[in-house]
Subunit: 235 residues, 2 copies
């Protein structure tokens, strides 16, 4: 019922064309194929998806609202470039919300959900074995999203989708080493706690998981312009 209310406005996998565009671009950003600062021209995207600029524009506006695209007036849309301050805010929000989400997930636990979680872990392991960094990044985020879906809390799910997308950009921009996404083992531990219906352990593991991800980042406050230049030179 709650889901039905949002179904049309926010359809996650609707078959209409604007959703296809949105998801295509989102995937490209989340898999780090589109780097922060990249210009997303309307014609360009429209040609790729065989759609008119009207639809592309709608999709880009949605992505802007989700915070992974910036629309600058009369200049166009660009892949967002979160600042270190943004990064800290995102992770703080995740530390606040995700422990509560796992709580709810445990309340909703069922064999079917455990299967899905287990299957996801398998996918993650496989991608990492393959050395497929893109798939790893994507699956790593999808794990958290899966737990949120499991919680059945549509508002938390919506918030978390936004936070995950931004996190992906943040990790790309600020990670220290070439860490292979965030540890698959952490995810396995969280699933184990969910299976045991041990809320306290699940919350604690989720929290430390998030802390470790953030700890691997290099979040210094640069003069924003310096950063911009440095990145451009690097790319």
């Amino acid at each position: 019922m709650a889901a039905k209310t949002r179904q049309k406005s926010d359809a996650p996998d609707a078959s209409d064309r604007v959703s296809r565009i949105r998801e295509g671009v989102t995937a490209a950003i989340l898999e780090h194929r589109l780097l922060p600062g990249t210009k997303l021209g309307e014609d360009e995207i429209g040609e790729i998806y065989g759609a008119s600029r009207t639809l592309v524009r709608t999709a880009l506006q949605q992505l802007a609202h989700e915070g992974i695209v910036n629309i600058e007036k009369n200049r166009g849309a660009f892949v967002a470039r979160p600042t270190p301050a943004d990064a800290r805010e995102v992770f703080e929000a995740r530390r606040l919300i995700e422990p509560t989400i796992v709580d709810h997930a445990i309340d909703a636990v069922s064999p079917a959900w455990l299967d899905r979680l287990q299957g996801h872990l398998a996918e993650e392991r496989e991608a990492e074995l393959r050395g497929d960094a893109r798939a790893s990044v994507r699956l790593s985020g999808e794990f958290h999203r899966l737990v949120a879906e499991m919680s059945g809390h549509s508002i938390y799910l919506g918030f978390l989708k936004e936070l995950i997308a931004r996190s992906s950009l943040i990790i790309l921009l600020y990670r220290r080493h070439d860490t292979p996404a965030c540890g698959t083992d952490h995810h396995a531990g969280i699933v184990a706690a969910i299976r045991k219906r041990d809320k306290q352990a699940a919350r604690a593991q989720m929290l430390s998981h998030l802390n470790e991800i953030e700890a691997e980042l290099f979040l210094k406050d640069p003069a924003a312009d310096e950063l911009r230049l440095a990145d451009v030179l690097g790319a």
Copy 2:
């Protein structure tokens, strides 16, 4: 800086025309001049604001993303009608986020902010004395938003804006008595705690404030269709 990143995508008070439409409609919904279920025709709104359907459409899509408008394919946009389940989710989320927000607000406390808070309390009292229910409803929500702005946490602010807007609809739909919005006294108490920089008291007061608001609601699960009929008859 963080704010600048979101400025264009999410501009709260930008001078462009689509923002004017969005804020006009939002205000109408928050002040309970537009009731849940009301159809928002594109031509209709466009004529009011002297804008073409393109701009109206953009504004409505943003409102849909904020959760206060539902867009049904090929049918149009309607003021959202949150279910009791939605209502419980919204208030749970607020209970999670707002105590943390007041914490941050206390960290950012300054004479200027205290003045703004005090001024807002005065406005609220005045509106209530005038018996201006519309202004009361609006100001009551704006208080929470003000605290969120004070916290300087742009992500929490964005989330809370959404939650406040939905809360307004929920209160309209499900309140038991004609309670004069949520108690101004609570707000005064919260401001007092902020002034004293007493985080524990501020969190506790915010929490009990939210609990009291929700306690005044009548959140039974009706057959959705029954509810719809009852409302229509009432209106």
